[in-house]
Structures are given as structure tokens and as C-alpha cells.
């Protein structure tokens, strides 16, 4: 379980001090898939980095499984908007990177890497260099790398935003499948309403300046979800419309 307790974050910008986050209180249940949605500048990526221990909040704290976060934890993985693959390493060597830095058991890590690459349809590309892969495949490799250490929490910062719509949907569906096979908690930042509804158990809608939580919306659509024929079109449309309203600029509410 992740609990975010009255987190404030300020940083010095060019135009003086900026309040990026103000008074965030949020709990993410173990095994939950939570998405953070908001317009640019609402502090959603900042919040994710604070949860990851990559940033220290100005005040407040984040507690994961009873332990306050002070620095990046070994059982929390982070996935970036860019694939952040090391261009000089093969696909397999990239996936195995956490095994080196976290000193995991090598044999087990190799076995796990093989499984993950198979799960994401990358068997046969193990020796390829990142530049030889499409953007979607590169993000799959990054996903495998993030999952190698069997993290308890996976934090994802707009990981599919640079991909085309179809690849994005494909990866979202794959992510749901992967999620069914493990007991991982997901916090997923996105600015796409579609993606948020497709993936989430709950959608946290954020507001900007200062960044804060505007509303939390439960997504009660049965899984597996997709945008194809079997989509639960009615409910998905309703929820999307609701989120749309919440994200529009005139914050009368």
C-alpha cells in the first residue's frame, strides 16, 4: 500500500518560487491500478517522482508498505516517457540491467528476462540494438526491464505518449494482461482520458497551479477492456465524458 500524506512541493523557477503540489493526500491499495490524469503542469509527473524517491517533497511524506520513502527503493520500478534504453546494449542486456545494479541472482534474472521478452513478443530480438526497433518495441523492452526485478510497485510516467494510437492501445491491452499475472501496484501518469479509462481501477483527476487532486473517479468497467467490438461502450463513453468535463479549463466546481 502506498500512502501519500499531505505532500507539498515547491521549486524555484525563473519567475520565482512555483508551488507544484499542494496538500496531496492519496492512498493506493496493493494491487490497484491507479491513473493520474491532468493537463500539463498539474504536477502529476512531480508527484510520481516523489513516490519513486527521485524527488524529496518540500513537506509531507510518502509511505510504502509502512516505510517512509527517502530514496529510490529496490522494489519500486520506474518507467519513463522515453524508453531510456542504453543504445550500446542489446535488448537482452538492457532488460538485464537491473540485475547488475540491484545484484539479483543472475541465472534467475536471465530466466525471467526470457519469459518477459516472450510475454511481450520480443523473442528473437534479444540481440538487436535499441535503434533497430520501432518506438513501440523499445517501450516493450523498457517495460520488460522495469518488470525484471518483480517490483511491488510500478510507476509509469506517460510511457505510451510518444507512440501512435494503435500501438498505444496494443500496449495498454498487453499491460492489462501482464497485470493479471502479477500482484503489482501500478501508478500510471497520462494525459489521455482514453488510456486512463482503459487501464485504471481509479482515475485521479488533477488540477493545476497549484497541483492538487480535483476528483477521484472509479472505473467500474469489467476487464479485460479494449476499444474494439467488446468494449463496454456505454459506460466507457459516460466515464470519458465525465473526465472530459473535469479536465476542461473552466473549473467552476
Amino acid at each position: 500500500m502506498i500512502s501519500i500524506e499531505s505532500v507539498d512541493h515547491r521549486f524555484r523557477g525563473r519567475a520565482g518560487e512555483v508551488q507544484a503540489l499542494a496538500g496531496i493526500d492519496l492512498t493506493v491499495e496493493t494491487g490497484e491500478f491507479l491513473t493520474l490524469v491532468g493537463r500539463s503542469g498539474c504536477g502529476k509527473s512531480t508527484l510520481l517522482r516523489i513516490v519513486a524517491g527521485l524527488l524529496t517533497p518540500t513537506s509531507g511524506r510518502v509511505v510504502i508498505d509502512g516505510e517512509p520513502v527517502r530514496r529510490p527503493r529496490r522494489d519500486v520500478s520506474f518507467m519513463f516517457q522515453k524508453s531510456a534504453l542504453l543504445p550500446w546494449r542489446s535488448v537482452l542486456a538492457n532488460v538485464l540491467l537491473p540485475a547488475e545494479t540491484l545484484r539479483l541472482d543472475q541465472a534467475a534474472a536471465r530466466r525471467r528476462a526470457g519469459e518477459l521478452l516472450e510475454l511481450t513478443g520480443l523473442t528473437g530480438f534479444q540481440k538487436a540494438l535499441p535503434k533497430e526497433l520501432s518506438g513501440g518495441m523499445q517501450q516493450r523492452v523498457a517495460l520488460c526491464r522495469a518488470l525484471l526485478s518483480e517490483p511491488r510497485v510500478l510507476l509509469m510516467d506517460e510511457p505510451f505518449s510518444a507512440l501512435d494510437a494503435l500501438t498505444r492501445e496494443e500496449l495498454s491491452i498487453e499491460l492489462q494482461r501482464i497485470r493479471q499475472e502479477q500482484d503489482t501496484t501500478f501508478v500510471f501518469v497520462t494525459h489521455s482520458i482514453e488510456e486512463a479509462v482503459l487501464l485504471a481501477d481509479r482515475v485521479v483527476v488533477m488540477r493545476a497551479r497549484p497541483g492538487g487532486i480535483r476528483r477521484i473517479v472509479e472505473v467500474d468497467v469489467p476487464r479485460p477492456r479494449s476499444l474494439g467490438h467488446h468494449a463496454h461502450a456505454g459506460r466507457v463513453t459516460e466515464l470519458s465524458a465525465e473526465l472530459h468535463e473535469l479536465l476542461l479549463p473552466n473549473e467552476a466546481a
Binding site: R49, A52, G53, L54, P72, R74, V76, S77, F78, F80, Q81, K82, A84, L86, P87, W88, L97, P98, E100, T101, L102, L129, K131
Partner: protein, 247 residues
């Protein structure tokens, strides 16, 4: 075909133009030799010339290697420590702005006529581009790679070896290629000032005896040496950073 043919044609036309100019303008031998005279000199005195070429090459290689051995760790310090950077960087710029030729006579006073001053001169010319490019490379690690290293709990040393240094290699090679182009120049400058061997020495000698064919032969060898060294660095780049090449 075209990629080989057109450059060769360019070279051939230039040589033809030179030859034609010597004949048409009736330039004396001792001022500008004809291409066959230069070739003759190369053929007749190849053993001696090769020995002097090797002298210059060996000075250049040692100076260049020393510039890498000293320059890369120096760049690591510059990129890694703000304090060191602020302390040393202005000094580095000042030293580099000195015309290196001005230092050559002093080097001879200090170190004599042997290989020493040549190696140091090569080092002086190569050091700055290597330090500059390596520092820039080490500082340009993309933000997401830095965050990745942190999120993977990589220590300082691991972050340097596994993330920053390989990331910097393509830029290091930009510096190495700039440096190797300057390296031969450094060796020749030092040989001009005081030497008893090397192609620079040959050029000075042939000037004194108006043997321009010999000077031209030495220049041909100098440019060949530069080209060979440049391609050697490029080959090393292909082998060490194959992932950075285009395609």
C-alpha cells in the same frame, strides 16, 4: 564507383594543374618541383624518408596517447566536480589561447633536441580538444538516463562506468578526431624549432639547400601520415562505438 572515382579525379586534376603551371609559367626547379621530380625523390631516397616518417609518427603517437591518458581523467574531474571546474576552466582556456608555437623554443631549452619536446608539443595541441569533447560528452547524459540510474540504485561508480562514460564515447571520439588532425602539426612545429630527425627536420634541411623536391616529398609523406592516423582513430571508433554509427 562514383564515390571512389570522383575524389581520385579531383586529386589527378590538381596534380595536373600543378604540373602544367610549372611548365607554362616556366617556374624554376628550386622554387617548385614538378610531380615526377617529387616522385623521383621519393623513389630514390625512400629508405631515409621512411625512417624520418617513422620518427615523426612515433612522436605523434606517443604525444596523442599521452593526451588521452591525461585528458580523459581530467575531463572526468571537470565534469564531476563543480569546484574543480570553476577553479581550472578559465586557466585551461587561457593556456589554450596561447599560440603553441611560442612554447616550442622553450621546450627545446628545457628538454633538448630529442623526442621529448615533440611529444610535449603534440600533447599540448591534443589535450584541449580531447578534454573539451569528453567533458561535454560526460555532461550531456540525457535526464531520463540519469533518473534511470538513480531509480535502479546504481552507485556513483556504477553510474559513471555503465551509464555516463559509454554515453559520452561518441563525443569523446569527436574530440579524438579533432586532436589527431592537430597532432602531426604539433610534431612538425617542434621539429622545425630543433631536431635532428623527423619530416619537419627534413623540410628545414631541404629549405636550407634549396632542395624543394625533397621538401615536397616530405610534405606528401606528412599528409599520408595524417590521413593514416585519422583513419586509425575512425576505425577504433567503429569498433568501440558501433551503436552510434548512422543507419
Amino acid at each position: 564507383m562514383r564515390r571512389v572515382f570522383l575524389p581520385l579525379l579531383g586529386v589527378a586534376l590538381t596534380i595536373a594543374g600543378w604540373w602544367l603551371a610549372v611548365i607554362v609559367l616556366e617556374i624554376e626547379d628550386y622554387l617548385v618541383p614538378t610531380p615526377p621530380q617529387v616522385l623521383n625523390t621519393l623513389a630514390e631516397r625512400w629508405a631515409v624518408l621512411l625512417e624520418h616518417t617513422w620518427t615523426t609518427a612515433w612522436e605523434t603517437i606517443r604525444g596523442f596517447a599521452l593526451a588521452i591518458v591525461l585528458g580523459v581523467p581530467f575531463a572526468v574531474l571537470l565534469a564531476g566536480s563543480r569546484i574543480f571546474e570553476q577553479m581550472v576552466y578559465p586557466l585551461l582556456i587561457t593556456v589554450n589561447s596561447l599560440p603553441k608555437v611560442a612554447i616550442a623554443p622553450i621546450l627545446v631549452v628545457w628538454m633538448g633536441f630529442g623526442a621529448g619536446p615533440k611529444i610535449v608539443m603534440v600533447l599540448l595541441l591534443c589535450f584541449f580538444p580531447i578534454v573539451l569533447a569528453t567533458t561535454a560528452g560526460l555532461k550531456s547524459t540525457p535526464a531520463e538516463i540519469v533518473e534511470l540510474a538513480r531509480s535502479l540504485d546504481a552507485g556513483r561508480l556504477k553510474t559513471f562506468w555503465a551509464f555516463r562514460l559509454p554515453q559520452a564515447l561518441p563525443q569523446v571520439f569527436v574530440g579524438l578526431k579533432t586532436a589527431i588532425s592537430l597532432a602531426v602539426i604539433g610534431a612538425v612545429i617542434a621539429e622545425f624549432v630543433g631536431a635532428d630527425a623527423g619530416l619537419g627536420f627534413i623540410i628545414v634541411q631541404s629549405g636550407a639547400s634549396s632542395d624543394t623536391a625533397l621538401a615536397f616529398a616530405a610534405m606528401v609523406l606528412l599528409s599520408l601520415l595524417s590521413i593514416v592516423l585519422f583513419y586509425a582513430v575512425q576505425l577504433a571508433e567503429r569498433l568501440l562505438v558501433p551503436w552510434a554509427s548512422e543507419h
